[in-house]
Symmetry: C2
Subunit: 231 residues, 2 copies
């Protein structure tokens, strides 16, 4: 990974003691309150991060895919501020973390990458904010699917057909809707010929319609009317 290649270049003396770790589905990478010992870069698989609510229910905060850095929000407090569990068999590359200054002084490239990733994280969180505040479940779902589709395209995979790395319940939780509502939304999109979704396999049939759906803020009733007109 680019990150590691960079780190060895600038300062030869201390080689970073990097290692890999594999997690099985359902296994925790870290939990709230654990001391922040190492930065993790996701190599394969998928991870969800979440927090517990006062009432015991959980709230999914993010899905992480290969290339993402884990746990940067732990820097300030020195301990993890969210839970992370593998959604599937997952491997991560771990870099020991001995404090900002230690890392900053010895590995400027890593420091730079960390700052870049944190800044990107803030941008992404703003995008999540935009996603969560879309008016209808259909819009949020459309935006979510496009997001995923873009990720696959950007990583050299098909943007039209891919696997959903997480179960419906997690998607629904993330989008702040009930699984039933998600299911209905998927069914609607399917009936309207926008997508094909069965189990974890997703096929995007009409990306433009999805984009318009995620972008525009027309009431969904108007949407259904539009879609019917086209047929």
């Amino acid at each position: 990974m680019a990150l590691l290649a960079q780190t060895s270049a600038p300062r030869p003396p201390a080689q970073l003691n990097v290692w890999h770790q594999v997690y099985k589905r359902g296994e925790a990478l870290f939990r709230v309150g654990e001391p922040f010992r190492s930065i993790g870069i996701l190599r394969s698989g998928a991870v969800k991060t979440y927090l517990q609510r006062d009432d015991g229910s959980e709230q999914v905060l993010a899905f992480l895919l290969p290339g993402d850095i884990l746990g940067l929000d732990a820097i300030a407090a020195g301990q993890h501020m969210r839970n992370a569990v593998a959604l599937d068999t997952t491997s991560a590359c771990l870099v020991p973390y001995d404090g900002v200054d230690e890392i900053s002084n010895r590995f400027p490239a890593l420091r730079r990458e960390m700052m870049r990733q944190m800044s990107l994280g803030l941008v992404r969180d703003a995008q999540v904010h935009m996603l969560l505040t879309m008016r209808t479940a259909d819009q949020r779902l459309a935006a979510f699917l496009l997001d995923l589709s873009n990720w696959y395209r950007n990583h050299g995979f098909s943007a039209r057909e891919f696997q959903l790395p997480m179960p419906r319940a997690d998607i629904a939780n993330y989008l702040n809707i009930k699984p039933e509502t998600l299911s209905r939304a998927l069914t609607r999109m399917q009936n309207d010929g926008l997508i094909r979704a069965e189990r974890r396999r997703l096929l995007i049939l009409d990306p433009d319609a999805l984009r318009t759906m995620a972008g525009e803020s027309l009431p969904p009733e108007a949407w259904r009317a539009v879609r019917k007109q086209v047929q």
Copy 2:
């Protein structure tokens, strides 16, 4: 406020060419796409950041209060990723920004503070996520008011009585509800003796009830029943 506030403003090194700037209500501190020239620390007043949707409507992303750092999400792209306007007469302290490395090498203390603030920003965004995904408008409003109250307490002001730094429309937008719904929620809380809200003055009469409301996930009908029982 956990959601709004970053505590402890950094003291910029003396060598840095720091200056102050005052903005009038409605004036823009920066806009999406502008080059990232300086880091700003809010000294007084209040700021909202927001993004434009495809349909032209705007989405409020955050309210910033004194002590908050502005525009850290601009580091990665080198340009601002959101709009920021003053909600009131506002003064900010500006530190020129010449790139991560420049600042990092010359002012380690500032670099450390920047990383801390970015990390805190990520934590805060997670809290915003939790806020936005609360089930009902009443819960979100309760959590929001408590956040604001906590900010004032943490800054040496009364946690019971304070000014709302933003108009209703902005609060509603931030909480992802319509102004009408916000108004009704406020009225309900007022009728139930939890708060007193007129114009921009807010009085918290029953903080514990607010806390329970924000924490628990009981359906609001159950809530009204509980409140009535107490009377």
